[in-house]
């Protein structure tokens, strides 16, 4: 297995190189003046007119040949410099590193919750085919599937913040931000909940949790829909397998058959999907982050794309490629654990 993992990891630079070449080529389809938009806020910011445009194009080397520009960029990347992001007002690498914990904290909670719920609900629906639990779960998943995240998030916010004032947006309250900024509070991970616990600061922990609840619930509600349905379908299929029938014929209790024999094997497609789901979430949950004023990678990537902030877009593309490769690898590694028939070579 180690060889397999190493081989996959060695492929990573090739994937990243191909991806960077592709994104870079795409941006070069725009004219130098269009690409200059990354450095100015709009036409009205160019008070020097065409002369200033020419100066800026020269300054940023936007007229240089493709290979020169790509070489300049990739040279920086190899030295750990992904360029400067005008959107984030900091180096792209710094922006990615500083925003990663925020997204990780949100995604880990939401993903864990949605994964566990999906397995439980999918199993419940599968073993109660066409009975009340199955109908209720199907209804909930259809709602989750059809409810736009934007609407659901806003409804949550209006009820639980606007009306009840229980769960506010952003990552921390004003007082907690001041506390976290203080010299006494040590930032270990950048994850507010974990850092608060490590600092033994329960008020900050509860405050961070209070701010996480709505985005986590929103993400969970939206993402359990697909996973639950896959789990249900997979469960139905597995329950019809010969080995399940055999287990039942042996007289094993129903719960043991369903949980130990059927559920474990039924999880394989869910794990595949969950890996992709997690990767997509780690790429940023733009709408959820925007609605809940939660500054994470998703909002950063969306802002960068809207502002044609190419260094940021390229840097984010590389980051996301790494996430995808790692997630795929994780899924591959988990497969044999769930099903010993699967072997990695």
């Amino acid at each position: 297995m180690l060889t397999y993992i190493l081989r996959r990891l060695l492929l990573l630079p090739v994937v990243l190189f191909a991806l960077s070449l592709m994104i870079f080529s795409l941006q070069m389809l725009l004219t130098p003046t269009q690409r200059l938009a990354a450095y100015v806020s709009g036409p009205e910011a160019l008070k020097g007119g065409a002369e200033q445009v020419a100066d800026l194009i020269e300054k940023y080397g936007l007229n240089d040949p493709f290979l020169v520009q790509y070489g300049r960029w990739i040279g920086g990347v190899l030295q750990g410099n992904l360029g400067w992001s005008e959107t984030a007002r900091q180096p792209v690498a710094d922006a990615l590193i500083s925003l990663f914990p925020a997204t990780l904290e949100l995604v880990l909670l939401a993903f864990t919750l949605s994964f566990l719920l999906s397995i439980a609900l999918g199993t419940l629906a599968g073993v109660n085919l066409n009975r009340l639990p199955d109908h209720v779960i199907r209804l909930v998943t259809i709602l989750g599937w059809s409810f736009p995240t934007y609407v659901f998030g806003l409804v949550m916010l209006l009820i639980f913040y606007g009306a009840l004032d229980w769960f506010p947006p952003s990552r921390l309250s004003q007082w907690a931000m001041t506390e976290v900024r203080s010299a006494e509070f040590v930032r270990y991970t950048g994850l507010n909940t974990i850092d608060a616990l490590l600092n033994g600061n329960l008020p900050v922990f509860w405050d961070a949790l209070r701010h996480l609840i709505l985005p986590v619930v929103t993400l969970t509600f939206v993402s359990i829909a697909s996973l639950t349905r896959i789990m249900r379908t997979s469960m139905l299929e597995t329950l019809r397998q010969d080995y399940v029938r055999t287990a039942r014929a042996k007289g094993l209790p129903r719960r043991v058959v369903e949980r130990r024999h059927a559920r474990r094997n039924a999880m394989l497609p869910v794990v595949t999907m969950a890996g992709m789901e997690l990767a997509a979430m780690m790429g940023g949950v733009v709408i959820t982050e925007t609605i809940f004023d939660y500054h994470g990678l998703g909002q950063f990537a969306a802002d960068a794309a809207a502002a044609l902030d190419f260094p940021a877009v390229l840097g984010f593309g590389l980051y996301f490629a790494v996430v995808l490769v790692v997630m795929n690898l994780l899924v591959d590694v988990i497969y044999p654990v769930l099903d010993p028939r699967v072997r990695l070579r």
Partner: protein, 641 residues
Amino acid sequence: MKQFTALPLLAAAGLAASAAQAQVTNPDTLVFLWTDDVQSFDPAYISNTPSSYGTLNVYSRLLAYDGEQISEFVPALSTEVPSLENGLIVEGEDGSVSYSFPIRPDTYAHKVGLMGEDGTVTWEYYDDLSEEERANIEPGYGVITAEDVKYSLLRAMLMDESWMSKAVTEMMTSGEYTDVAAIAEDLTGAEVPDLDEAQLQQVYDELDQLISVEGDTVTLHLAQSFPATLGIMALPFGTSIIDKEWTVDMGGWDGEPTTWGDYFRPEASETPLFADENGTGPFMLEEWDRSERRIVLRRFENYMHGPASLERVVLRTVPEWTTQRLQLLSGDADVVSAPVEFLDELAATEGVKVVDGLQRVFGRALFYAWPLQAQDNPAIGSGQLDGQGIPPDFFADLDVRMGFNYAQDYDLLLEQVNLGKTVQSRGPTVRGIMGYREDSPIYTYDPEKAEEHFRAAYDGQLWENGFTMTAYMQEGNTLANAALSVLQQNLARINPKFRLELQALPAASIMDKVFADEPTSPLTYMGWGPDYSDPGGPLGAATYYLSPTGLVAGFSGEGYQELMREHFQPLLDEAWALNDPAEREPIYARLQEMSHEYATSMFLWEDYTYIVTRDWVDGYVNNMILYGAWDFYPITKSASE
């Protein structure tokens, strides 16, 4: 189905939210939500209004604007406002002018330097020092002197980065040079990156001689009159005063004549003042979390005019309006950036205050360009006056421009699009700027006059054949869409053969069309405002619009530039050479009239702004020339009775 589910819930929760009563939360902290961001805290680097929110509050200038007044000043780091009467402005017989500023004594920056036993200087917050420690402040380290003023101005000029720092160069050279690069090329024949030590010294000396320091007084020596000088000295950009010793200690320019080349046109993060400051303003930069897009300013207790009422100001970028709104209603936010369509609803909400119709020195217009790029230009269709396009010099014909101007329904735009909150633009100079007169001529919607001019244009060919052309506007700009759509319909009513097509493009594509070597966009919606209150000078309103080298000329084509060169430039030069406002005003008023006679652009309306706050927020001062930037010093936050 989705809507049926969502809407009742939204409505119910929205009602509950708007009915929610909020206490004064964070009584000493102003939470300011906006959709903008600060570019840098280096006053010599920035040039846009959002960035000025930082420098306006953490730095001081020699002078400050007097409340809402855009042409009157009050002392700041200078103890007096120079004038001919107090002898601080001296006119030389050769036409030169000098401005002297006596520097306020014992003015400390936020951080001061204390000499340690090992001979190294450590920087400490002045507020945190005991009296004993204050007695040990290293002379000059965090103490603002006339030398700091000179250093600040020289640094802004030699850094040569922002449009507003270049304004300092233009001022100091009386408009002779637009930037240091031009000075270097003129003096040495070389470009800045290639200058050797002697050449660097040469350029430095050229600027150094323009600023002299004598005791506590700094004097600017201008070769000729530059009427906008005091206005520039009060702007929160390159004329903000920084502490030389601190800047040097942080790795900035050391003030030496031969080293400034290393600091020429830096990237944002290359200047030590990018995310740090040591100003003398009423607030200190406590934190700038660029990932969270949050800025925290803390009160400077030893501010020269006494401490501010607010202890902290938190500026946070929140792009989603609903989230901003809920935070305002709950009292977690004090100021929000509301879309205009929500103003009426907000004004009727308990606990929310809307101050509307605040004037700005910013005019909106549709700009004509000619000649246009003839090849590969879809905006002009066939490129002929055959009904399927327009010739590249379409707008060179005065009758065409006047016909277009009479075809616009200004009243409709004012009443229904701008909801009666502003007035029609009368030309380049708007209310508050010299040369503006209430009775100057303006265009009104008059289809008959429009037809008259269209029939006269191109010897009747235009009327006979009609035209097809494309006007571009920025995506999502509803005002541009309204102005062009009204024009489109009116043109079609006047003559069904007149086809104005509209195309919305991203900002990047608009730039591509507008700032090409030859313009490709025949008619462009944009807005410009002056950078100081004087209508003349390189950054004044009249120059922007009516000079052949001005902003508008920069993207309006050679034909427009020629028109300006021939008819407008002589008057601009004449007015700029004069010092007496009484003599200058009629000239600018005449230029305003001429912009109407020549139909140089389609002047639409004066921009306006508004603020939305909790009702416990008071003290906002709208200074038009600062484009409404919030000076947090006078702001108070207290429960309403």
